[in-house]
């Protein structure tokens, strides 16, 4: 009979106290697992290497909102950016890639965010050294047609979509004017899992997006936007779009009449540069092709300079995503996670103290048992080890149960978290830091079991047997 089984039997004898103290450790560890996994998810999500774009250019406003909306798709888009501005950006010699990006509407099924973009989006690495694996043949054939769509792995899995599936868009989310667009998009590709927001995004061709009813806006709103972005007068704008504006006004009148008569009116006016608007443009800087080793640094420096330049404009801003992400990680998530981590460490330590109290209190009742073991020939070291093993079983056993509970909670909570916040959490997530939990708990068990173990070690056999 091993000392382990003697320790196990002793714990079983006090099963209620043992299971409660072990469970308190398990709860502490489960909380710690949750914090570690959430911390890991956010750290990876907001790490500098998680985004492949050097700059996100969009309307002035919150930098956080711009990045959260374009990169993570968890916040509303800022105001719109005119297509004409995007065309100007394309001509900038400092830019290697400029990808138009419109985040609006959701899929009618599953409510996944819709991103309207161009095929080139899939040829640019979405994160450091990570690309969609779409061959870059100059002009990608992915998302070729106007009504083509490419969906992320989670969208395909949850909605059961595959190549050939069709879907519609829910306009304006769940607001009062929410309605489903008549047009149908066809899935032409499903992305491999990336572990990013792309997994839960449905990408549609930007041409199709512009063709959707009500995506053109009114004449006045479009003119006002152009006035703001280009600091031109109303007359200048109207002059520039002199061919389009009369047609748009006529269309607006037809629609107003139809609505007054209670009829649904579907506009068939072709989109123009004036009516096209996007949320942002994703930019990869030119860098220094002659110094490839310095490319990352050069691009970052160029992006910072461009962001400073854009700060002087009236309507646009350029944001370096990693800067914002570092800020979010450092100021918000890091502190919250640190606080949670400290809290869970305290919980585990309190559990350890609980184990100490439980074992230590039992020592007075167990003096006789220890004396019997000694009378049967057990050396002092053996009775010391029996007590230490009890502490180890409670701590390490509690730790293992805690790991199971923690991962069970992650498994259950990941789809809920994804649905509520849009953050992707792998239900089978495992953090490297968890590997240290069991050794750490073993050390704690040794510390916790030492004093009761010494009490057992010092037990006076003759006296305890005579009591």
């Amino acid at each position: 009979m091993s000392l382990w089984s003697i320790a196990w039997k002793s714990l079983k004898q006090r099963w209620l106290a043992s299971s409660l103290t072990g469970f308190s450790v398990a709860l502490g560890i489960a909380l710690m697992v949750l914090v570690l996994i959430i911390n890991g998810v956010f750290t990876r999500m907001f790490s500098q290497n998680s985004v492949g774009y050097d700059l996100v250019i969009g309307p002035k406003g919150s930098e956080w909102q711009l990045v959260l909306n374009t990169i993570f798709r968890v916040d509303r888009a800022l105001n719109d950016m005119p297509w004409r501005y995007y065309e100007q950006l394309k001509e900038d010699p400092d830019f290697r890639e400029v990808i138009p990006f419109a985040v609006a509407d959701v899929t009618s099924e599953g409510q996944f965010p819709i991103v309207a973009t161009i095929p080139r989006f899939f040829s640019v690495p979405y994160a450091y050294n990570r690309s969609f694996g779409i061959p870059d043949d100059g002009e990608s054939t992915f998302l070729r047609g106007t009504w083509d769509a490419v969906v992320g792995s989670e969208v395909a899995r949850k909605n059961g979509w595959k190549v050939g599936s069709t879907f519609q868009l829910l306009h304006s989310g769940t607001g009062e004017d929410a309605h489903i667009h008549d047009e149908k998009f066809t899935v032409v590709g499903v992305l491999a899992p990336t572990g990013t927001a792309n997994d839960r995004t449905a990408f549609i061709h930007i041409d199709g997006f512009f063709l959707l009813d009500e995506h053109g806006g009114t004449v006045d709103s479009n003119v006002e936007r152009e006035m703001l972005w280009f600091q031109e007068s109303k007359e200048q704008i109207e002059q520039r779009y002199s061919e389009v504006i009369p047609k748009m006004r006529a269309e607006e009148e037809r629609k107003a009449r139809a609505e007054a008569e209670g009829r649904h009116y579907h506009s068939h006016l072709a989109p123009s540069v004036l009516t096209k608007r996007i949320s942002a443009a994703l930019v990869v800087m030119r860098g220094s092709p002659d110094r490839p080793n310095m490319d990352e640094i050069n691009r970052s420096t160029q992006a910072a300079a461009k962001a400073a330049e854009l700060r002087e404009t009236f309507a646009a801003q350029g944001v370096q995503p990693f800067g914002v992400m570092y800020e979010i990680q450092d100021k918000l998530i890091g502190n919250v996670n640190l606080a949670l981590l400290v809290l869970t460490v305290v919980i585990v330590i309190v559990s350890g103290i609980g184990i100490f109290v439980s074992i230590y209190n039992s020592m007075s009742d167990r003096r006789r048992q220890i004396a019997i073991l000694r009378a049967l020939g057990a050396p002092r070291s053996s009775v010391f080890l029996v007590i230490l093993f009890e502490s180890l079983i409670l701590c390490v056993g509690g730790c293992l149960v805690g790991l199971l509970i923690g991962h069970g909670l992650v498994f259950i909570a990941s789809p809920i978290l994804e649905a509520r916040s849009g953050f992707l959490v792998d239900p089978f997530s495992f953090e490297r830091a968890e590997l240290y939990l069991i050794p750490a708990l073993a050390v704690m068990a040794t510390l916790v079991g030492f004093l009761p173990g010494m009490t057992a070690y010092r037990t006076d056999v003759a006296q305890s047997l005579s009591e």
Binding site: I372, A375, V461
Partner: protein, 223 residues
């Protein structure tokens, strides 16, 4: 000789700091396979004597030869090992561990000698008539059954010397003789020397050699 005590001295320090002599034995011995009963007044040092023979309590002076080994000269770790290998102990209050089954309690008697033999443990329990109670824990057994388990446990390490401290005192009259017979027969079969402490004249009357502690222990006498 199975047991030989020579010039054994043992005293305790009282709360006031004064030394209280308990054992002062010039010579006491037991032959191999001999069965001896020890009687004496309460507080006369009987249990202390058993404890020093078993190496549970160290002596101030003297030799305690058990199976040729001087227990008094062994360090504590070796004494523990020697006790586990050569000495069997039956207590008045059985001292079984309540969380362990009958079989496990017997196995526990083998654990610290390093000779765990599950088959032999079963055989011992069978011999004390408890083959049907192997997986019962002490609280699920009668007092008589518990003491029989204690006897089996004491025999588990194939001892050379059996020490029994009033083994029948807590057992009902019906079981007293059965326990005594069991203990004596087992010791006879295994050629184990037996030193049994008792207050009962019914018990002592059955032994050929009856020793009164006060006859050879003179704690008040100093040289």
């Amino acid at each position: 000789m199975s047991l030989l005590l020579e010039n054994v001295r043992k005293s305790y320090r009282e709360p006031g700091g004064r030394q209280l002599p308990v054992l002062n034995i010039d010579r006491f011995s037991i032959e191999p396979a001999e069965q001896v009963v020890l009687i004496g007044q309460s507080g006369g040092g009987k249990t202390t004597l058993l404890n020093v023979i078993a190496g549970i309590t160290s002596v101030d002076a003297g030799r305690i030869l058990v199976d040729g080994v001087d227990v008094a000269r062994l360090n504590e770790v070796r004494r523990d090992r020697f006790r586990a290998e050569r000495i069997g102990i039956v207590f008045q209050t059985f001292n079984l561990l309540p969380a362990f089954t009958a079989l496990e309690n017997v196995l526990l008697g083998m654990t610290f000698s390093g000779r765990v033999d599950r088959g032999y443990a079963r055989e011992l329990l069978d011999r004390v008539g408890l083959s049907h109670r192997l997986n019962h824990r002490p609280p699920q057994m009668s007092v008589g059954e518990q003491q029989r388990v204690a006897v089996a446990r004491a025999l588990a390490n194939r001892p050379r010397l059996m020490l029994a401290d009033e083994p029948t005192a807590n057992v009902d009259t019906g079981n007293q003789q059965m326990i005594l017979d069991l203990l004596r027969q087992a010791c006879r079969e295994h050629e184990v020397s037996l030193l049994l402490v008792t207050h009962s004249t019914e018990v002592s009357g059955q032994f050929d050699r009856v020793e009164t502690l006060s006859r050879f222990n003179k704690p008040g006498v100093t040289e």
